[in-house]
Symmetry: C2
Subunit: 461 residues, 2 copies
């Protein structure tokens, strides 16, 4: 039995205890967006630091002005060096009433098609994914007494709220974080049987805008007709953000958006991602983006604008005849190519201000701001990792684009000069950010085995 | 000293105890919109029935499928008969954090300009107003041993949620409710020194619409661009409800809207209601309604459409990259003239459905549905009441239109053949339906005196 086979056998034998460890972590409601959960975020960080301390890591918490960062070092002089990144924070569980079982009481459920899955907030995004890497390290340590490569582990607690403190942290600790390649486990497979490495990520600009009119809520019987209604103003602004062809109307929005070469488009066409296969599972059937683009373009290579939330006026049960003093929307822009986050934010704010009628003003809040990232197809680690994944899953691992945004990848490149290998085992039906988030047991188990194979492959570099 | 003078003197002497009684009633949080306050609504009804039982009324609670109705009868054979209507339910107190003191802990505050006012939810709308009538009855009973007219008192608990059960109740008890004129105390003065009788009321159609797209919340990173966004769809529908001139775009919306005669318009112009005087006090300056209409038309004689509330997606602090499964808005239409509530509701629903893109559906909820009401200037009781008000306030009482809606007035006409005298002592700055609702102490005191004068005047009919 080769060393790798022994490590894989160990992972198989250790599956139940590894699940128990993940469940322990999932029980901590580390919701970074809610200040009431700050203590839970710290507990989740401490849990991980303690857990990896048993695997040869020197690990501790690095304080920030927000939630702490877990930093672990397992040096292996002379060996290739990897910098693994993940996050321990999770999305809020709301609407909580739509969870079949409580969000922070993990369980293994059997899906309608017989698949088994871990159900909990964070099961996939990102605690479950992080633990595939940690468990692979644990198996190496158990079987060989050490890790096959030099590992720095960096797990933050603010990914879901814009990773505010990561760029500064990476900048200030650049010497300690030196490596040959960065690894991130926060992405998806192509489908439940086909592994994938993500080679491009969309950027993200997230804005909150509040439109204000009267200095108080008004009775619509007395003032209706004459008083400006901020919900109506906000609705008109949101409605104006797209034209009938589904294009975003912000001036300069498409500056820097590249057209993919014809052969790449042809390749995409060959993947057969249809509205039916992609949208059907969530109850939709017609792509809602730019009319002249394929679904795969709409979700990967084209920029978007989405309203993520809106509220104003009376939102309780029944009727209240009020004209609200203000209304708020949360919007995000997914960016591609060379789109500039700062210019798009400025363009959005000007767009809003240009459309404010008399008596209205707007206030803005800025959250994420990251450009798109594209990784070089020629990365040496890419081919090794692809082969390792292909060996594990028995199907050729694809190099794909992702519609999501992982801002840290751009920082790793800019600050550390590092390319990032984005390997993840999420699936489209994982309901991340939604009620009943899950992570297939197969993703967890074979994901752990995949990392073992990838670490072994990288060790031979 | 005449009998009326003695009654007025009694009202003056009884001011402090009458305030204490009102405060007792205001302390009961009878929020009809919130099922959690159903018990409080019943307590508020019981409080009033008990209070008027001491004034010669036979009073009790009439059960409905919702909150009970207080019905009191004080017969006076051979005398003119009045049917007084009011409501004991109040609007929700939210946003509670904007109240300077708790909404259900009434107090007397001194305003910046020296006026004294009762501050509490319901201080004006409608408990304070109802008690001006009750206290006038109490003073008559104390001084003369009886009431000067035959009084039926009808105080419901569902006015703020659409008076769902009143039409049926009035229909089923038409014989008991027979009278010569109906009285309602739920309207406003022209200004703090000028009393007014309201002779026209706008109607009301209130709708809730929920637009649904995917069968679950989606991650905007994975699905953004391709998945239909119900907030965007709802915003586009709301934005389309008005044209750039401020007119409502629903087909048929203006059917039945009368143009006032030139001399009436001239009279309105003479009232000098400007954007500055009407909107200035709430921090606005430019009328937001139909561009070619005066402010007084926009708020009284023209129909309107307002969004009263909207919610969808993530509404908590910070950022969440979600595409919501659904979004909801609450909208109301104020009607005038012969506009038909049913046709306008149907037109709105068709308007929404016509604008739903693929993969979206809409669900509707119906709340209020009442046509506009206009009272005859020739009502015999009108001149008597105007003179009584003029006597009390020392300024000529105006006959005015109101932008608000009191659906019961139409039912009184249709079912009982009764015209309604709408006399109220609210002021534009009373913040009804808003935090820090108040009722001027002068409104309460001179309002009570006004009712004593009106009852005395009606007794001579």
């Amino acid at each position: 039995m080769s060393e790798l086979d022994a490590v894989l056998a160990r992972i198989d034998a250790d599956l139940d205890p590894s699940l128990e460890r993940l469940f322990d972590w999932l029980r901590i409601p580390s919701v970074s967006a809610d200040p009431a959960h700050a203590g839970d975020c710290r507990r989740a960080a401490e849990w991980l630091a303690r857990d990896i301390s048993g695997l040869g890591f020197t690990a501790g918490l690095e304080e920030t002005a927000g939630h702490p960062i877990v930093l672990g070092r397992a040096p292996a002089p002379g060996k290739p060096r990897v910098l693994f990144y993940g996050h321990y924070d999770v999305q809020p569980a709301d609407p909580v009433e739509l969870w079949e079982t409580p969000a922070f009481e993990p369980r293994v459920a059997t899906l309608a098609d017989g698949r088994k899955a871990i159900v909990a907030r964070g099961a996939c995004d990102d605690k479950g994914q992080v633990m595939t890497f940690v468990e692979a390290c644990r198996a190496f340590k158990a079987v060989t007494g050490s890790l096959p490569v030099d590992v720095t582990l960096l797990v933050e607690g603010e990914e879901e709220v814009g990773s505010r403190h990561m760029p500064g942290f990476v900048e200030s600790r650049r010497d300690e974080l030196e490596a040959d390649v960065a690894l991130v486990c926060d992405t998806s497979m192509w489908d439940p049987r086909t592994p994938a490495i993500t080679v491009s990520l969309r950027g993200l600009v997230y804005e909150e805008v509040t439109v204000k009119a009267a200095d108080r809520d008004l009775h619509s019987g007395l003032f209706g007709g004459a008083a400006q209604n901020p919900i109506r103003v906000l609705a008109a602004i949101i409605a104006a953000l797209h034209d009938p062809q589904g294009r975003v109307t912000l001036p300069g929005f498409y500056d820097g958006v590249p057209e993919p070469p014809a052969d790449v488009v042809e390749q995409w066409r060959g993947l057969g991602l249809t509205a039916e296969t992609f949208l059907g599972p969530v109850g939709l059937s017609v792509p809602a983006g730019e009319r002249d683009r394929m679904v795969i373009e709409q979700i990967q290579s084209r920029p978007t604008c989405d309203v993520n939330g809106i509220f104003g006026g009376y939102t309780g049960p029944g009727a209240k005849t009020v004209i609200a003093a203000q209304a708020t929307a949360k919007l995000s822009f997914r960016l591609v190519g060379a789109q500039d986050p700062d210019r798009i934010r400025a363009s959005f704010r000007a767009f809003v201000r240009d459309r404010l009628p008399a008596d209205c003003e707007a206030e803005f809040g800025a959250f994420s701001s990251s450009p798109a990232v594209a990784l070089p197809y020629t990365m040496p680690a890419l081919k090794r990792a692809q082969q390792a994944l292909t060996d594990e899953w028995g199907r050729e691992a694809l190099a794909i684009g992702s519609g999501g945004s992982i801002p840290i990848v751009g920082d790793f490149k800019r600050t550390l000069g590092l390319d990032t290998l984005l390997v993840g085992f999420g699936l489209d039906d994982d309901r991340i950010h939604s009620p009943n988030e899950k992570y297939d047991l197969t993703s967890f188990h074979k994901g752990t085995r995949s990392w073992a194979r990838i670490l072994a492959a990288l060790a031979q570099a």
